[in-house]
Amino acid sequence: MSATTIVAPARPFAWLPTSNWTIKLIGGLVLATLWQVLVGAFLPAYVAKPLGIIAAIPTVVTNPLFLSAAWATLSAVVRGLAVAIVLGTFVGLALGRVKLVERAFGFYVSGLYAMPMVAVLPLVTLWFGYTGAARMATIIFAAFFSIAINVADGAKSVPPEHLEVARSYRAGWREIWFGVTLPAAMPYLLAGIRLAAGRALIAAIVAEFFISIEGLGFFILFNSRTFHHNEAFVAVLLLALFGVGVEAAMTWATRRFLPWYRREAKTD
């Protein structure tokens, strides 16, 4: 045996820290610097810049108007999502498990899913008035279909072996729906919630823009129109944070409650 040593080729950028978070932070700093420099160089002073936004954070987050706006929007989104999850799960299970329901309503559910909910906003205000109820309806409408469609997909793709075992042990329809189909469709439900949360957030903001009720959307609109761009951006940041939070919660929930899911997908 000759003493050959195999030398790994030098990794490019080996001097960079390997931690994911450090790299993410550096990426963010690069973008923020670009933004700060370009906007500072070419645009009027009132246009939002990273340093201005950071400076605005303490005053905005202690502003009771902002806080109640944030509460109004985010609590509406959470409540609307909760309603959409419950309704969407039931409808999704029915679509996935009952052929007749699928044949009668599947077409319309897909159609309504594809339709932008902004289009029905004027109608919603006719039904509910310029109120929080109109926002709630918009949120539910926006979130419901992505959950129903995902759960229906999940319910349809339950492995027949699981259903066979359940039937062999004399499972009734309740057990088939909630004991077998729902857990098997859980990964689909979580994916649906992910989608729905984004759509619900959009729905809430657009509804607030349109019907001018208290909330982050209206806060952003008002501050932008009064040239408080940095303040408006703090609200945008909060919305982004909420989105990231939902994403993280779903990832956590998948790991915590569906430990079997990823492993199984891997071996298939």
């Binding site: 066979e164 062999s168 042990y169 004399r170 430990p259 079997w260």
Partner: protein, 283 residues
């Protein structure tokens, strides 16, 4: 194969002289059972009887419908002709007291070993205390002690089938239906599981109908080996397995075991070849 004549009875399952038990004691009985999918006849005129403490192995070439027959007996599929009786009652849907062990294991991936084993008991409405007492007992019996909180994806195929077996045993069935239970595990594990199943059965003898495509497994497990053959298939031969109980690893070394294996093989080989040939032609 004249040497086999004494042990082979041509479709003599319902012959009253053939068995000491009377028909009323038979746990599983099929009378002229047939299954059709549209114009396609899977099996026809299947007459079968399995007694209370009897193990019948069902063998036949691939695609002969042995698994379909088992599903019909479990009540998962309706039969098209004739009838299937379990303890004298017609099977129209899955019945209490009948448990099936599946080739695909059929474990729920979101349930732990404990919850999978408890599944049948829960659906049967067993009391919590009952479940807490029985489930560990059967987990123990199949050698999965210590794995109660483990999920199926964390286990090998052999362990998964132990879990599937425990789930079936936990409901203390009067009839155990085995659908090629060890076909999906590796050869060594299969042998271990076969012998363990035999010793479990000796402890608690029950009616067992065992579908397999392994001739050795059929001879090792069965008190009788029923050969399904033909297109559509029907009961072609019934071979008495006069090997002593308890069956153990020693059984495999008996000259009689080798003889019986040859007998079953000879009834199957032509058909197996023909089935293969027909598959080729069908392509």
């Amino acid at each position: 194969m004249s040497s086999g004549a004494a042990t082979i009875r041509r479709a003599a399952v319902t012959d009253p002289t053939h068995r000491t038990e009377s028909a009323s004691q038979s746990r599983i009985r099929t009378v002229g059972a047939g299954k059709r999918y549209g114009d396609f006849q899977v099996f026809r005129d299947v007459d079968l009887e399995v007694g209370a403490r009897e193990v019948v192995a069902l063998v036949g070439p691939s695609g002969c419908g042995k698994t379909t027959l088992l599903r019909c007996i479990d009540g998962l599929l309706p039969i098209s002709d004739g009838e299937i009786l379990i303890e004298g009652a017609r099977v129209t849907e899955p019945r209490a007291g009948v448990a099936m062990v599946f080739q695909h294991f059929g474990l729920f991936p979101w349930k732990t070993v404990f919850d999978n084993v408890a599944y049948g008991l829960r659906l049967a409405g067993a009391a919590k205390a009952d479940i807490a007492e029985k489930v560990p007992h059967f987990i123990n019996m199949v050698g999965l002690k210590g794995f109660e909180k483990v999920y199926p994806y964390q286990m090998s195929g052999g362990m998964q089938q132990r879990c599937g077996l425990a789930r079936a045993l936990a409901v203390e069935p009067k009839v155990l239906l085995m659908d090629e239970p060890f076909a999906a595990v590796d050869a060594q594990t299969r042998e271990i599981l076969q012998l363990e199943l035999l010793s479990i059965w000796e402890m608690r003898p029950t009616t067992m109908l065992f579908v397999t495509h392994s001739i050795e497994e059929a001879v090792l497990m069965g008190d009788r080996v029923v050969v399904l053959k033909g297109r559509p298939s029907t009961v072609h031969e019934v071979i008495e397995v006069d090997l002593p109980h308890p069956r153990t690893r020693e059984t495999l070394t008996l000259p009689r075991f080798a003889e019986l294996r040859e007998i079953v093989w000879n009834t199957l080989k032509d058909e197996a070849r023909q089935a293969e040939f027909e598959l080729e032609k069908g392509r």
